[in-house]
């Protein structure tokens, strides 16, 4: 029973992190129908900047919650800047091209960013410091979930609520929904498409940065290559839930997190990833548009 509970918590944690990254994929896909392969690298850059700023600020005497929030904020800001620049350099000049051109450009950008970080930082595995201070109230819960797991769940919940409010309540959020429904019609109604796309990339990158910071704290080590697998899993989660759908991404990520966690616990951790991808194929075979995706009928 305790194993079951532990697996549930770890599945929830994993799912939350996947969700943070998957949202970036699904939002970009919803707006411009592009698989942003470089999104995983943004997440990796988030983890790196968070680590770097925590060390630099730590040398200036910051510690505890202040250090966590300061380095987290800086990482989020920097990732937003990276995401914005990425779109301007690699995707914007390609608008109106065939579907494959931006995809290749994204793959190229992903290779570029990986090697950029490897060159200017290090190809070695780095250890990530424990940034989350002890929380007194949680001391009694140690057996079930660690403070890092609690922090991840809390941060994810806050991010999700913030994102939902942003999408539902603000003007630009409304514009985003409009563009994802019908870009031509949105443009006719005076929506600034460029602004919407930029915003989408910025928001997605910010969420990825939060994910990067949290994963650094959770796994405690990282290198320049972490973006690849995380990106692939997150994309799987987004597709699982029905790509383009924001609640779908969260559901897909949680399903994936639970499946992996139970596979690791009850089968073997070697087959964790196999189970994730088999699940993907199975679900897509049964529901070709994902769990939450709506089947579109093509009219002629």
């Amino acid at each position: 029973m305790e194993l079951f509970l532990n697996l549930c918590v770890s599945g929830l944690t994993k799912g939350s992190i996947y969700a943070l990254i998957a949202l970036g994929y699904t939002m970009v896909y919803g707006i411009i129908a592009l698989i942003n392969f470089a999104h995983g690298e943004i997440y990796m850059i988030g983890a790196f900047t968070a680590l770097i700023f925590s060390m630099v600020l730590g040398a200036f005497g910051l510690s505890g919650w202040g250090l966590l929030f300061a380095s987290g904020t800086l990482a989020v800001v920097y990732c937003a800047m990276y995401g914005w620049t990425l779109e301007k350099v690699a995707y914007k000049p390609l608008r109106g091209q065939s579907r494959l051109a931006p995809l290749i450009s994204a793959i190229g950008m992903s290779i570029f960013l990986q090697n950029y970080v490897q060159l200017v930082q290090t190809p070695n595995v780095l250890s990530f410091p424990d940034l989350i201070p002890d929380i007194a109230i949680l001391a009694g819960m140690r057996g079930v979930a660690s403070k890092t797991q609690f922090a991840i769940l809390a941060a994810t919940a806050v991010s999700m609520v913030a994102l939902t409010l942003f999408i539902k309540k603000t003007r630009i959020g409304m514009a985003m929904r409009a563009v994802s429904q019908d870009p031509t019609m949105a443009r006719l109604s005076g929506v600034n498409i460029d602004k919407v796309i930029s915003t989408t990339f910025i928001i997605g990158s910010m969420l990825a940065a939060v994910g990067g910071l949290l994963v650094g704290n959770y796994g405690r080590q990282m290198d320049f290559f972490i973006g690849f697998l995380a990106g692939m899993k997150a994309f799987t989660a987004a597709v699982l839930g029905g790509i383009g759908s924001i609640p779908g991404a969260v559901v897909g990520a949680l399903v994936l997190g639970f499946a992996e966690s139970f596979a690791a616990g009850y089968v073997s951790s070697d087959y964790e990833d196999v189970v994730a991808f088999v699940l993907l194929i199975a679900i897509l075979t049964l529901r070709p548009d994902g769990i939450m995706g709506s089947a579109t009928t093509q009219k002629v």
Binding site: T49, M55, G108, T285
Partner: protein
Amino acid sequence: MTTVQTETAPPPASGSGGPSSGGPGGGVPESPGPDPAGAPEGRGGAAGHLARALAEFRAALLSAAWFSVLALPLVCFRVNAVSGGIDYLWARLPRLAALAFCATLAWRFLLRRLGFSRVRSAVAETAGPPPEGARGPGGSWLTLLDRAPAKRLLLAGAALLLLSVPFWTTPYVVTILITALIYITLGLGLNIVVGVAGLLNLGYAAFFAVGAYTFALLNQNFGMGFWICLPLGALSATLLGLLLGLPILRLSGDYLAIVTLGFAEIIRLVLVNVGFTNGPRGIRNIQPPTLFGADLNGAVKPLLVGHGLVHKDMDLNKVLVYFIILAIVALTVVCVYRLENSRLGRAWLALREDEVACQAMGINRVRTKLAAFALGSTWAGLAGVVFAAQISFINPQSFTFMLSVMVLSIVVLGGMGSIPGVMIGAAVLILLPEYLREYSDYRMLIFGLIMVLMMVFRPQGIIPSTRRVYIYRPEEHGDGGARPSTRNPDALDAGPGGAGQDGQAPAGVPGTAGGPPSPRGAR
């Protein structure tokens, strides 16, 4: 390019003012601040040129500043993995800023030129076929190749050159060429799936792996030779393609991409974790192919070296592999070429363009797609067997997602659906890293950058595919000028509409100054 529309493109004749000519405010992808829209009113004057140059300078300066800020934490604060502290590397910053400055200038200049050429080609398209002499992009030397004698001569020369390679080069060159040829085979195979049938397959490495492992396992456990395993490897890859294709081919576009990606990961992870494949350690000592049982390196080599025919360090088994893969490539080219113009090939093209219309025309969607998928896998299997024979040691590390990406890049960079394009693409992508080995640290960085730049500045690929189109030639029908006859059914299926697929104007249409033939223009 949405920016093109806002730009008032000056006529090409007057746009000769160097890098700073042309209206500012075009594609400004990199400058973060407000666009330097100090648009000079007086075009053409020296003051105008100066103002434009200043605007360019300002934009490049802004972008240099932006990239400096962007790169600051990653470039200047390096985490020291040993001491656990931070190294401050401020000296890197000015170099980075200078690089960003120059790159922005070049980028803006190129993007503006690109904008002009797109506007010009759009104008040319709406104005009808270009007059003689003015050919579409990539016209001149490519059309030269279309002339049959020149083409045959070139092909014969290339074949002779490739056949003679092992006799005048070093073993190193032969090894690289084998790799390049393996990638050409892979590229041509994937080209059927992605380029012709339009099914995005991101898991091509899986079929390559299956071919390689089929040979390796049969060779290790049952001592079966290369020549039996070659068809068996291809067959097993085909079967796997069919097995995977059946359930997933009703998925559309991007879902298909991710499922193939996931499938490739499953195959790789199974190869890592299952006992009989020897896991991550891989399989060693795979026997090289033999030629009718002859001991090439023992008996034949001294003879050849004695006559100065081959390099003294040349491994003749490698040479045999080289000839085998060369033959496979030749066979593949012929097959793919024949396939493209066959009933099946035209069904693939049609399916790529419009599924619904295709089904309405009675094309079996699933069977056609499955054929593309399985045929593409067959070539991956073939290439896999040769790969295992070449390096005689395989492990799952050779079949990662990067391999699939590499092959896809070959297809797209070379020109989707184009056979010579894929061959050039493979040659460039495999040989480029070899030549960049001197800068090995920056190798993959440059590689990624080239992929992005290529997509921005030449998305149709190095050699775009040209579809066989029927071009209306009035003089052949003897009614001169641009007067298509509605009574002549032969002329009607030949409208220029069919030529627009790649935005390529049909080259060398003799003087049809009267514009596109339209039925209403008759009489």
